[in-house]
């Protein structure tokens, strides 16, 4: 079974530039999550999709971050403009169903460095 695919693996940009990350979840997984993991901290949820609808985006800095999930499959996360504090690993995860005891499968993440 193919896992969660993310690209790119690494990205270095200057502050105030824009950047986009892509995620392809496991086939058939209705729920997709984007997490931000700052160095030395646990991942923090940015946004959760159920199919192509947003379930939770309460922690997404909407003035600069946006995300979409087209046709309920692939998803993109965009940052515009980037700030230094956005340097982190961005993790995409998917799960079959959105209930509390369901395993989430994670991609390898995109490491973003903002200089």
């Amino acid at each position: 079974e193919a896992g969660v695919a993310q690209s790119p693996r690494y990205k270095i940009i200057e502050k105030r530039q824009s950047v986009a990350f892509w995620c392809n979840p496991i086939s058939g997984h209705a729920t997709l999550y984007w997490y931000q993991q700052i160095l030395g901290q646990g991942p923090k949820l940015l946004i959760q999709f159920q199919n192509n609808g947003v379930v939770d985006d309460s922690q997404l800095p909407k003035d600069r971050f946006s995300a979409e999930r087209l046709k309920g499959v692939d998803s993109t996360l965009k940052i515009q403009p980037a700030k230094l504090e956005d340097s982190a690993v961005y993790l995409c995860a998917s799960s079959l169903v959105p209930i509390e005891n369901t395993e989430a499968f994670f991609g390898q993440g995109t490491r973003l460095t903002v200089v």
Binding site: G3, V4, T31, Y33, Y35, G40, Q41, G42, P43, K44, L45, Q48, Q50, V55, D56, L91, A93, S95, V97, P98, I99, E100, N101, T102, E103, A104, F105, F106, G107, Q108, G109
Partner: protein, 114 residues
């Protein structure tokens, strides 16, 4: 509000000795609890999960965890550490009735000395 606290940011053991990674949780409801492991440059992988069945949960690679409601703990153990166990470990709780949202602890870095 639900949360988890990992009591140690770093644990160092010798190969062949027991591993104990401590986690306390806070939850108004009966929680679902997980341990995930993150090896360098790899994705997070599920070790084990507790979902109100047996309180002693066995996971992959010889790890297990015991849910203790009276102590609000969910500590991760392994009888004998292996070099390949060196990684970052996260204790995770999911929010009741909120669609599987995962709340992560700060993480514990496990080092294994030869």
């Amino acid at each position: 509000a639900q949360s988890v606290t990992q009591l140690d940011s770093h644990v160092s053991v010798s190969e062949g000795t027991p591993v104990l990674l401590r986690c306390n949780y806070s939850s108004s409801y009966s929680p679902s609890l997980f341990w995930y492991v993150q090896h360098p440059n790899k994705g997070l992988q599920l070790l084990l999960k507790y979902t109100s069945a047996a309180t002693l949960v066995k996971g992959i690679n010889g790890f297990e965890a015991e849910f203790k409601k009276s102590e609000t703990s969910f500590h991760l153990t392994k009888p004998s550490a292996h070099m390949s166990d060196a990684a970052e470990y996260f204790c995770v709780v999911t929010l009741y009735n909120q669609g599987g949202k995962l709340i992560f602890g700060q993480g514990t870095e496990l080092s294994v000395k030869p």
